[in-house]
């Protein structure tokens, strides 16, 4: 080990003064580290596998279409895709994918016993929460948006090129596709905030996560007022195609987009704020965690 005074070796500019600019620099740095982990780290494997599920199913439907008659019917394709999106993409892939990724943003580091490195850096803990959350949202979006796009493309693949193009352009297909992407993004934003907060507030977040899943799952049975206490209600309200939820479902009017979108964003912001508060008061006691 060398005892050469560091000052003789390199000249380094002093750290930026404490300010909003510094926070932005720090968020960028945290974002880069976390984004890499969320996209190509070991923990990302499960997320990628989940993301491949709808693609595989859409591919299967493309290769082995149910019937020749339905092959050419754009409405049947649209309905099939809407079902696939709501039942699989939204309620399973994004839900569980976000649960896995966002719970692990902090809980994973607690389990690895490496969270203290982040807490020992000269960064406000709230800034750490924001940086990690943004990285999680961007990573999830980068994984699930291509999944949705690819699945839509595969759904329309068996149609003749001209019919598919007509369906997309004259039947509002492009607008619908954009809405699905918006719903995908907002699902990552909303579920991400819920699960990041759970990872910080609960020592074992699996049971609370299952409770949330149960609540979201039985949403179709809830009276209209209670439906509004779930994320999936606002996401469904934004979806371009209403999917039948069965004979026992309690039907409620979809919430207007100008309420749904801000509600999801405000809810997420509140949860990120709560996560920041929680981390600010968090104590490193790995033994008891």
């Amino acid at each position: 080990m060398s005892s050469i005074p560091q000052e003789r070796v390199v000249e380094i500019r002093p750290m930026a003064p404490l300010s909003l600019d510094l926070w932005i620099v720090q968020i960028r740095s945290i974002f880069r580290i976390e984004l890499k982990r969320s996209l190509i780290g070991k923990r990302a494997i499960l997320t990628w596998l989940l993301a491949l599920m709808p693609v595989a199913i859409a591919l299967g439907m493309a290769l082995f279409p149910p019937s020749a008659r339905r092959l050419a019917d754009p409405d049947a394709r649209t309905t099939a895709w809407a079902l696939l999106f709501e039942l699989l993409v939204l309620r399973a892939v994004i839900f569980f994918g976000c649960a896995w990724s966002f719970l692990n943003l902090f809980r994973g580091e607690i389990v690895d016993r490496s969270l203290h490195y982040s807490l020992l850096a000269a960064v406000r803990r709230e800034v750490l929460v924001v940086g990690k959350y943004l990285a999680g949202v961007v990573a999830a979006t980068l994984i699930y948006v291509p999944t949705v796009l690819l699945s839509i493309a595969l759904t329309y693949l068996p149609m003749k090129a001209g019919d598919a193009w007509t369906a997309l352009t004259t039947g509002g297909g492009f607008k619908a596709a954009l809405l699905y992407l918006l719903v995908t993004f907002l699902a990552c934003v909303g579920y991400g905030a819920v699960y990041m907060a759970m990872g910080l507030f609960f020592r074992n977040p699996v049971f609370p996560a299952l409770l949330v899943y149960g609540w979201e799952f039985i949403n179709f049975l809830l009276p209209p007022i209670l439906k509004k206490l779930s994320i999936v209600h606002y996401l469904q309200s934004l979806a371009p195609v209403r999917v039948s939820e069965g004979p026992i479902a309690i039907i409620a009017e979809p919430t207007a987009w100008w309420i749904s979108v801000p509600t999801l964003l405000i809810l997420s912001a509140v949860l990120v704020g709560l996560s920041g508060w929680r981390l600010r008061h968090y104590e490193i006691r790995y033994g008891s965690d």
């Binding site: 560091q6 750290m15 510094l22 203290h116 850096a121 000269a122 406000r124």
Partner: protein
């Protein structure tokens, strides 16, 4: 700069884990130099370090590190580097990435972070291995890369929890030399170690802890002098030990004396070391006894530790 701006202050600090005591009513004023925390397992050493760095919150009392509260991590960790005992790393990172990426979180530009990381890694002698995965390092290398991470941003306070663990003898002596050079640069070093003779060798001050309480604090010699209930032991090498012993008893300078095994020395116990050291020369000259050497044998940390804490628990 106020007086507290250059000190680490614990003012009547207590920490309880539920009903379990972590530390109780700790009051410390730590000045620059090397301060070692010594005590058996569960005595509160790591708790004090974690309180100092905000990884734990005090149940009671006030802590200030060079005038900054542990509740302000943004300002605090510009001053502090903490090499904790947790032997774990963020998954998938090389040693270099581990040091450089966290520097980015401080707000250093990428180029500066890279240079600071390289210098810190060079200082701990890991340059050749810095692009290998940290998780694959040996225990000693992991210890060194953590040390590099804690010094990379050039802190004024270095907190090192068992920093010599896992190092081979050469690396240990290099690490101690490095710590001494940090202290010479005016840094505060707070070190916990269970190797008492190494603590004794490198520390300017020692804080002895037991069951969450500070048992003693200060320089080892000063601590030993204040332990009047334990007479100091001194080995006197001379040509006539028996005669010297008789004269020392006559003058009331010793409470116990015995001839050393080799017959050429006298092992005495005195309750007034200052009076003993100033008088023994005269006594020897008057009796025509030739003194070869006079050396205290229990004014080191090991003896202080045994007297105050006992050897049962063992330091850790």
């Amino acid at each position: 700069m106020s007086a507290t701006d250059d000190r680490i202050v614990f003012d009547d600090v207590s920490k309880f884990y539920g009903e379990i005591l972590g530390v109780n009513r700790v009051t410390l004023h730590v000045t620059p130099g090397i301060t070692s925390l010594v005590g058996p397992n569960g005595s509160g050493k790591t708790t004090i370090m974690n309180l100092m760095t905000g990884l734990l919150r005090a149940s009671r009392g006030r802590i200030s590190v060079l005038g900054v509260s542990p509740d302000e991590p943004e300002a605090l960790f510009r001053l502090i580097g903490y090499c904790a005992q947790f032997d774990s790393f963020p998954p998938g990172m090389t040693g270099f990435e581990f040091v450089a990426s966290f520097l980015g979180m401080y707000g250093f530009a990428r180029r500066d972070a890279v240079r600071l990381a390289e210098v810190a890694i060079e200082r701990v002698g890991l340059t050749e291995a810095m692009h290998r995965k940290a998780a694959g390092y040996s225990k000693g290398m992991r210890q060194r890369i953590r040390l590099a991470q804690s010094i990379a941003h050039r802190p004024r306070v270095l907190i090192l929890d068992e920093p010599l663990n896992g190092l081979d003898p050469i690396a240990r002596s290099e690490a101690i030399a490095l710590f001494r050079s940090f202290a010479a640069e005016g840094l505060h070093l707070i070190i916990s170690s269970h190797i008492l003779h190494e603590v004794d060798m490198m520390s300017d001050r020692v804080v002895l802890l037991n069951n969450g309480y500070v048992v003693a604090e200060g320089g080892v010699r000063g601590m030993r002098d204040e332990m009047s209930e334990h007479p100091m032991q001194v080995l006197v090498r001379c040509d006539q030990p028996a005669s010297l012993a008789a004269r020392l008893f006559e003058k009331g300078l010793v409470v116990e004396a015995g001839t050393h095994d080799d017959g050429r020395g006298l092992l005495i116990q005195t309750k007034d070391a200052d009076r003993f050291f100033s008088a023994i020369g005269e006594v020897a000259v008057a009796a025509g006894i030739q003194l070869e050497s006079i050396a205290p044998v229990d004014d080191d940390l090991t003896a202080v530790y045994q007297y105050l804490i006992g050897s049962g628990g063992g330091a850790s």
